[in-house]
Amino acid sequence: MVVEIIITSAIVALAVFILYKNIKKSTSGQCNCGSCSSSCPKFSAIKQKK
């Protein structure tokens, strides 16, 4: 029972954290589309590769 409560609490905390991050990202106008067209003009954060 205790283990189940701990696991549940962890899962719920993770869910709330993910949801909070997503809402924050979405409300700042960042793209949240998981599967957009290949001609999507919106670019992700550019990283220095080399």
């Binding site: 029972m1 189940e4 696991i7 549940t8 899962i11 719920v12 993770l14 869910a15 709330v16 954290f17 993910i18 949801l19 997503n22 809402i23 990202k25 979405s26 409300t27 700042s28 106008g29 960042q30 793209c31 949240n32 589309c33 998981g34 599967s35 957009c36 067209s37 290949s38 001609s39 999507c40 003009p41 919106k42 670019f43 550019i46 990283k47 220095q48 590769k49 080399k50």
Partner: protein, 604 residues
Amino acid sequence: MVVLDSKRMITAALIGNPNVGKTTLFNLLTGLNQHVGNWPGVTVEKKEGFINDNVKIVDLPGIYAMDTYSNEEKISKSFLESGDVDFILNIVDASNLHRNLYLTMQLKEFNIPIILILNMVDVAEKKGIKIDYGKLSKLLDVMVVPIVASKGKGVDKIEELLENDIFSKANHDNDIHYQNDVHFKSEAETYKYIEGILSQCVTYTSENTVTITERLDKILINKFLAYPIFIAIIYLIFQFTFSWVGQPLADLLDSFVNDWFVPHINILLSGANGWFKSLIVDGIIGGVGSVIVFLPVILALFLCISFLEDSGYMARVAFLMDKIIRKMGLSGKAFIPLIIGFGCNVPGVMSTRTLESEKDRKMTALLLPLMSCNARLPIYLVIAGALFKGHEAVVVASLYALGVIVAFFIGILFKNTIFKKDDEPFIIELPEYKLPELKSLALHTWEKGKGFLRKAGTIIFSVSIIVWLLSNFNFSGMTEIDKSFIAGIGRFISPVFIPLGFASWQNSVSLLTGIMAKEVVVGTMGVIYGGNLTKILPTVFTPISAISFLVFVLLYTPCISLIATMKKEYGGKMAMFSVTYQLILAWLVSFIVYNGGNLILKIF
């Protein structure tokens, strides 16, 4: 003359006409993986990448000239004028030098060193165009590098030039000249000058004058054949997605999840408490699993769309749609944001920046959410699969078509009320047809799959758990679902949907959570209805109420990301207007569908 300090970061601006391969070259030079499309308008903002620690490349949006009013031109011009640019990589289409060099002439006026990159020299050769690169370089007074970006040919020469810091050395060796010694009074004068140069360094052979592209265009954009061919292609895509490949694979995945995975988890958790088992099976697997089974359909659909984009056909579709789009009061260029909206409305709204007039931009942004984005597809599939088995393709195709038809009439309404304006000309580059490379198709398709899985693992996962919590608890602790928090919320809003035929609190809550992201509607249903939706939904919906629900999903308020993007791009008032008009529109159209459908059934 620019004097460069060899230790500081050198900035190169990559600039050229639309669809000449800028992004392909940018990716090759920087090793980045920006999206590339064989049609114009892919690059909306400037993008940065690095060749090495000392050289930065900035990919600018494609433009034809520096003297019109589009946002792309403003972005490019202000960047070149900023003083941050050390040299220009001007990429041009070798098979169309006459038009491409117009921009080159304008770039020379910035007095920044230019490397002229002649892309697609293979296409030029096939067209019988022979270019004397040395003479062209001498006449234009710039360094000329011929390349084939799609095959990576000649790119090493550019890398070599950049990595060897040729620009600093140029100051001493005088290898590169970048002074502008020509000024033009008019467009005609510029073109006359270009013709003069080309007549000295370009020769045309009579062989292969009719290219494959020209032959294909005679059929694909033929006055009589173009529209039937377009409809046939769309039909094939839907067949491939819903009958031949996507849906059968989705059914297999669904069987795996419901008939194998869930029973195994049930056995594994047989010793656990009921509520914990419910969290894992009904909450997480029920929510995420209901959405994830549609991965094969998403992949199949986007494989087809990527094929059309990479082949060059999508630009022809924009050309074909010009007349229709124009009747809606938009310029043909608005077709591109609208088609992007079928993938996701957010980048669609962002790409409205490429439109020249403010009214075009606003009107396109308002019509865009009516294009059925990919996130709505799992909802269509789960309901069509449960209530219209065997006819999923027809239901889904009808919804896509309804979105376009509604947008058409709303466009006409807006054109004659709040957005009265004159028509503007539409210019679009028709690119060469290309047989898409398998690697590129696989990469694009995998990107979609990855994005879909990421979404399932984050937002759908978290909303499913929150919905599970709210559906199992109320103020007095754990309770039955009918007495839970979520049932209370659902009952509060459900009266609005009584005239539309789907007023259960479960459906109302699903629509509410769908504002987070549309796929969440399915995830929420999975949690609330508990698992196998294919069996449960026919007991909840009648065929007409199901269609009414789907129409509401198609037209109602877009997701939170789109509202925020709309606010960011066009302000709070516009975002509010978009949300309000869509809610009213969705309610009205669903009302007509439900009550009209019932009336027809009574009569017949």
